[in-house]
Amino acid sequence: MTSELILKIDQIDVFYSDFHALWEVSLEIKKGEIVSIIGANGSGKSTLMYAIAGINSPANGSIEFCGERINDLEAHQSVNRGIALVPEGRRMFPRLTVRENLLIGAYSPRSRKNIEKNIKKVHDLFPLLEERGDQKSNTLSGGEQQMLAIGRALMSEPSLLLCDELSLGLAPVVIKDIYKRLHVINEEGITIVLVEQDVKRSLKIADRAYVMLEGKIALEGIASELGEEQVKKAYFGM
């Protein structure tokens, strides 16, 4: 594949005050790919997502999105460029209704024009969100909230969708359902980065994968070619 890069991360370091969380992490993501980032708790996966989404910024190195350097963009600016993050733990706005949660997803100028069209798209993808439109979002089940979190992110018309631990705390049948929708989203041309602890499932859906260990990239490759042993070793640092 020689298609265009949508995201190019070059040797970034990220610190939480004194703690060195990411060590010279580099990674490249092509337009239209599904890339999976695997790693144990504390391996730096979420930190990497936060750096891309603009929640924290790297001390050095560079992050390029569609050829432009976005190191210093703040989260709300990154959204307007087309990067949406579905955060770990879903992070609903509990006092807002399901529909209002979706509307907030379209807050940035880039997506204000097509709100009704995008809501319809999200409703087609997750019909349940239309039925439950007037309910407060905290009355939804975990799986439904995850659907809402994805739908809300899609409302901003992202070209890059970052998903942090989608399957956390959900029943296998629900996870399967959500992963199926990810395919549909990807087929519409949205590039997806999946952060997961569930190695098998995420390798199955991804085109390529990175394995992270202690803030570094330990392994990368075409998902279908990565052997189970190889991934296990990189995952646990054996």
């Binding site: 993050l85 992070r91 609903m92 706005f93 907030i104």
Partner: protein
């Protein structure tokens, strides 16, 4: 029995004024989790601003709102954006201290510029009443009540129906997640303070027409605000209205039965009872 009707009605009307006095404090607490100790002083600052406008232009206090409201919005916006936002974070104390500092500065500034003399905003309706049988309805109190209710209603509509209002609610639910939706939360907090100051401007002018004020009156209204939002529930609009009416009723009925000397005491006894029975307030959410 008949003698009770007058204080009950007065209490309801005064409650509307109490509601708008507390509205800015409850707004800031609900959205930014900021206890704005300068709220009372900012209200009194509005009273003085109105006084200046009235004496310079020779207009009615109501018309002075047209100038005082935008000025106070800008003051609130700047105060939050350039001062309070810098100290907002995980801890409660720094913003509290900064707000307290702002309070002291405003009080002393007012003292310096306007002297400690009592002032009031005179209008033609200050002393007029409507007579209904045995009951007197002071027109000014009716106006206060009507404006208080309208502002509560208007703000509710604004929060529920507009993009900006929803963004404000989202930012107050989960600041980090709101940023991920493209909401510039720091800016939203500044706008919230601006809105709080709009209510403070209106409250300040109504207070100025109803009672006399001097540079140190702010503390008194801050305490009323706290009473109202503790009874009504922190961060709740409905709560501000209900809390305002309950506190005012307690004070006026207390005065009716035990004499004006006990008016404030009875008000705060009711507050203590509410705290004991329902610590989160009538419309507050338990944490």
């Amino acid at each position: 029995m008949e003698s009770l009707i007058q204080p009950v009605i007065n209490g309801i009307l005064l409650g509307g004024l109490y509601a708008i006095i507390a509205l800015g404090l409850t707004t800031m607490f609900g959205i930014v989790k900021l206890v704005n100790l300068a709220h009372g002083d900012l209200m009194v600052l509005s009273s003085y601003l109105s006084l200046v406008v009235i004496t310079q232009l020779g207009i009615n206090p109501f018309w002075s709102m047209l100038m005082v409201i935008p000025i106070m919005f800008v003051i609130g916006f700047m105060l939050q954006k350039y001062l309070l936002n810098r100290v907002l974070g995980k801890e409660m104390e720094p913003p509290l201290l900064v707000a307290f500092g702002v309070s002291i500065i405003i009080q002393n500034l007012l003292l310096l510029v306007f002297s400690p003399d009592a002032q009031s905003l005179m209008t033609s309706i200050s002393v007029k009443t409507i007579q209904l049988g045995n009951i007197n309805l002071p027109i000014l109190y009716l106006v206060n009540f009507f404006i208080g209710c309208s502002v509560v209603l208007f703000l509710r509509l604004f929060y529920n129906k507009t993009f900006l209002g929803r963004a404000i609610r989202a930012a107050s639910d989960d600041e980090g997640a709101a940023q991920l939706m493209g909401v510039d939360t720091k800016n939203i907090f500044a706008i919230a303070m601006g809105i709080a100051m709009i209510t403070a401007a209106i409250a300040g002018i109504l207070i100025g027409m109803t009672f006399s004020f001097f540079p140190h009156t702010g503390a008194q209204y801050l305490i009323i605000s706290f009473g109202v939002i503790i009874i009504g529930g922190l961060g709740s609009m409905k709560g501000a209205l209900a809390g305002g009416i309950i506190l005012a009723e307690a004070q006026l009925l207390g005065a009716h039965f035990t004499g004006p000397g006990y008016q404030l005491l009875i008000g705060y006894l009711v507050l203590l009872i509410v705290l004991a029975i329902r610590p989160q307030g009538l419309f507050g959410q338990a944490h």
